[in-house]
């Protein structure tokens, strides 16, 4: 049981997808302007990670490995993720259009979100069991959500700080991300 907890916090904090492994940066910068869209993106990504891990794990161990076609890993995994994203995009579009407009281009881009594909690869590289893979996905997703929340909180305050004109908007966001990255280094030895 504590191995699961170790994996969860390992993925959420120690090897945080965004600030340690530096994956999933496109939506991280794109959506973190407003906390509301940041939270919904975080939840959508966690959902996709969970379901993607649940689907890709069996495909890998019961289909790719027995037939020795691991080479197809990339194509098949990304197909699964893309289909999930397509379903979620339809669901969000039909239920909550304002949220759909808030996420904009970044919703389809979850498909190429390095973090989502990253977690499916990690599940396989670390040869996690099925439940470990799900916990890892949950950890990675909550880590992504946590960092997105922190970033959007900071960026909303930055609107009011009198940053020099050239730095307003994305430049100051990058520098904030650097500082966050340094802070997350502190988790290095935790697990």
């Amino acid at each position: 049981m504590n191995r699961l907890i170790a994996i969860f916090f390992g993925m959420a904090l120690v090897n945080n997808m965004v600030l340690v492994k530096f994956l999933g940066l496109c939506p991280f910068f794109g959506v973190s302007k407003k906390t509301k869209s940041a939270v919904s993106m975080g939840i959508a990504v966690t959902l996709v990670m969970l379901v993607a891990s649940a689907v890709t794990w069996p495909i890998y161990y019961y289909l790719l490995v027995p037939y020795g076609v691991e080479v197809m890993k990339t194509v098949i995994f990304i197909l699964v993720i893309a289909s999930l994203v397509q379903i979620i995009e339809m669901a969000i579009k039909r239920t909550n259009l304002t949220l759909y407009n808030a996420l904009g281009i970044y919703l389809p881009l979850i498909t190429t979100n390095c973090a989502v594909l990253g977690i499916t690869f990690i599940n396989v590289d670390q040869s996690y069991t099925f439940w470990e893979a799900l916990v890892a996905a949950l950890g990675a997703g909550s880590g992504f959500l946590l960092v997105l929340l922190i970033m959007s909180g900071i960026r909303e305050r930055l609107e009011y700080a009198d940053t020099p004109r050239a730095f307003r908007g994305s430049p100051i966001a990058f520098i904030t991300a650097m500082l966050l990255g340094l802070a997350f280094l502190a988790f290095k030895g935790m697990i």
Binding site: F22, L23, I78, L79, A82, T111, C114, A166, I175, L185
Partner: protein, 204 residues
């Protein structure tokens, strides 16, 4: 022909993928630690992006809107895997240096971004132009970032093995932070601010 040229130049500065569109940051950060990496990544990236734009734009009228994302991304992933295998098989030397970048291309948001935003709405010729433009834009951006990061991070600059120049004091104990992705954030942030100051990109 002029639209070809317009699309090409647009991608380099006006909608530069890394600095303006801010896409494809994951590989850019991971790879931009040396000039060789930058050149290698750009070469592999341009090939895949142009091919992807061609195929996507060729089948754009047949792709039903509901499954457009899975279809595009399967095409991109297959392209990348084919290029990777071909390279490992027929050009092992090149693959040894470029090897690790090719899988990174699959998760590069720019390619699907361009397929989604451009290729599925325009003709093949324009898509090629857009692919080349964005590819070169990406190359320029990643070369610039790698230049700064390698110079500060290791104190010396090398391109394909022969030394360009090195800063005497710095190459003994360089600022290693620049080799970490955090350094990349700093460099990109400062460059963005610099472009704003020089009027290249608009203020926010």
């Amino acid at each position: 022909m002029s639209s070809f040229w317009k699309n090409l130049t647009k991608g380099i500065v006006k909608s530069n993928p890394t600095f303006i569109l801010m896409l494809g940051l994951c590989p850019t950060l991971a790879v931009s630690t040396s000039l060789d990496n930058a050149v290698g990544m750009t070469a592999a990236f341009v090939v895949v992006l142009v091919l992807s734009n061609i195929i996507v734009s060729a089948i754009r009228n047949y792709v039903p809107d509901r499954v457009r994302i899975p279809v595009f991304i399967v095409i991109i992933a297959t392209l990348v895997s084919v290029v990777d295998l071909m390279m490992q098989g027929f050009m092992p030397a090149l693959s040894k240096s470029l090897g690790i970048y090719i899988p990174l291309i699959v998760v590069n948001c720019i390619i699907l971004g361009r397929a989604e935003a451009f290729a599925r709405r325009n003709g093949i010729l324009d898509s090629i132009a857009d692919g080349l433009g964005i590819g070169i834009g990406f190359g320029v951006a990643i070369f610039l970032i790698s230049f700064i990061r390698e110079l500060l991070g290791t104190g010396k600059l090398e391109l394909f093995g022969f030394k360009l120049f090195s800063i005497p004091g710095l190459d003994q104990n360089p600022a290693a932070i620049f080799l970490f992705p955090m350094g990349a954030f700093l460099v990109i942030g400062l460059l963005l601010a610099l472009f704003r100051q020089l009027g290249v990109s608009k203020y926010e």
